[in-house]
């Protein structure tokens, strides 16, 4: 029996398995930056959305997607960027959130949805702190709003004493 998978779908599946270079426990599908893959007369066109404007991993992701597809037998591959709508951490899948927590990185809380002017945060006491991904305690502190990559912040658990990273809600 012939499987009824279209070339576009199988290209999507191959692209979807690409790991993120900075969060290698996640695929780009888990991260929600893979917008689509289609089979065209000019070969496979994969569309990805950048996480942050300056994220240096985008270049690596594009190269990796291309290589994975070529290894899977697609000989012409183009990786396109799509800026709008901007990526939000809300697009990280449930599976992706579980993998983050398993790797000791707290998944993001729901991103703030705003219309109109963005209110400035006037309190120096952090709010909406993540739970400790190791012991589950809600008693955590923020040690830094920025971390080794643009997408994460640094925290410490007051219960188990361990430091941990969290993906910032964006």
């Amino acid at each position: 029996m012939v499987t009824a998978t279209s070339p576009g779908q199988s290209a999507y599946d191959v692209a979807a398995g690409t790991p993120d270079p900075e969060l290698p426990m996640l695929t780009i599908a888990d991260l929600g930056i893979l917008r689509g893959a289609e089979s065209t007369e000019e070969g496979v066109v994969v569309t990805i959305t950048p996480t942050y404007s300056g994220c240096p991993a985008m270049r690596e992701i594009g190269a990796d997607v291309r290589h994975r597809l070529m290894k899977a037998g697609f000989d012409r591959v183009t990786v396109k960027t799509q800026l709008a709508p901007p990526w939000t951490t809300d697009w990280i899948t449930a599976d992706g959130r579980r993998k983050l927590a398993e790797a000791g990185i707290a998944p993001p809380s729901p991103a703030p949805r705003r219309s109109g002017p963005v209110p400035v945060k006037l309190s120096t006491v952090p709010t909406d702190l993540p739970r400790c991904p190791r012991c589950g305690s809600a008693s955590t502190t923020e040690t830094a709003r920025f971390s080794a990559t643009a997408c994460k912040s640094l925290h410490r658990c007051e219960a188990c004493g361990e430091p941990f990273e969290a993906v910032k809600a964006l």
Binding site: S53, P56, K80, V118, L154
Partner: protein
């Protein structure tokens, strides 16, 4: 054989599509695959001019912030400033690519082979911060203004600029919150930290008038009152006062957007452009 399941293995490999020697190098067009045609009814020259100005603000300011790396008071502030500078560099690349696509020049040509009078950044972007209070004070002013501007630009007639602005606005919100919290902490801190934070604002304030100068090429305008309202809220929480006094006005009617810069600008370009100019064929 390179293991393509391991992204780091890819770094050591030769590519047919570029030159790459380290993570993040082998830069390609940040707008690759995006429809960059100028929409009908939009003045392409004006759009390019304005994207160049916004790109220059981010490029020059990003470079200034990078100068602070290894000099910040704590490691956490190092990573914060590095990330903020990286966000701004990303915004600069997209904006310069947008301008360059219309002007027929690459981002590198625009960043590294223009002279001082050809840069269109506001003079606040080139200011050399003298202490940590000036770093966070300037970041508060710059990000409050740019966030208001990007909010307005996210409905710009050019979909590319609108998308860059919508994306950047999320990043600028983080930058502003980071800066606001430090301004409050220092202003509401010790006698010394309060005095230095106030002195920083006093030193920076003359540069703020230029942000609100009428600009014929601007594709969106910002109500100065809305930005001042945000700043006033932060200053009130910090127990600081909004400086008054003289502002740095245009010189013979010309300011940063017209290519008139402060003494600080030449030094930035000398450092930022020296490698590219020494080896114009270099790739990164």
């Amino acid at each position: 054989m390179t293991d393509h399941d391991n992204p780091y293995d890819l770094l050591g490999e030769d590519h047919d599509d570029g030159h790459r020697w380290a993570f993040g190098t082998g830069f390609t067009d940040p707008l690759a695959g995006i429809d960059t045609s100028v929409p009908p009814g939009t003045d392409g020259a004006a759009l390019a001019r304005y994207c160049l100005a916004l790109g220059d603000d981010a490029l020059i300011y990003s470079h200034r912030l990078q100068e602070w790396l290894t000099r910040m008071p704590e490691l956490e502030e190092e990573t914060a400033i590095a990330n903020i500078a990286l966000d701004l560099l990303g915004q600069a690349r997209m904006l310069l690519a947008r301008a360059g696509g219309i002007l027929g020049q690459s981002e590198d040509q625009l960043a590294f082979f223009r002279s001082e009078a050809e840069f269109r950044n506001v003079r606040l972007a080139e200011h050399a911060d003298r202490d940590f209070a000036e770093v966070v004070g300037r970041l508060l002013i710059f990000s409050s203004w740019r966030l208001a501007l990007f909010g307005a630009l996210s409905s710009a007639s050019d979909p590319v600029l609108a998308a860059i602005a919508a994306k950047g606005a999320n990043e600028l919100t983080y930058h502003r919150d980071y800066a606001a919290q430090w301004v409050i902490r220092l202003g509401d801190g010790t006698e010394l930290s309060h005095a230095r934070m106030q002195a920083a604002l006093d030193a920076l304030w003359p540069l703020t008038a230029e942000l609100f100068l009428p600009d014929a090429s601007a594709l969106a305008s910002v109500d100065p009152g809305s930005v001042h309202a945000v700043l006033d809220m932060v200053l009130a929480a910090a127990g600081l006062s909004r400086p008054g006094g003289a502002t740095l006005g245009p010189v013979s009617g010309r300011a940063g957007r017209d290519g008139v810069h402060t003494e600080a600008m030449g030094y930035i370009l000398a450092e930022m452009q020296s490698v590219a100019r020494a080896d114009p064929d270099a790739t990164w």
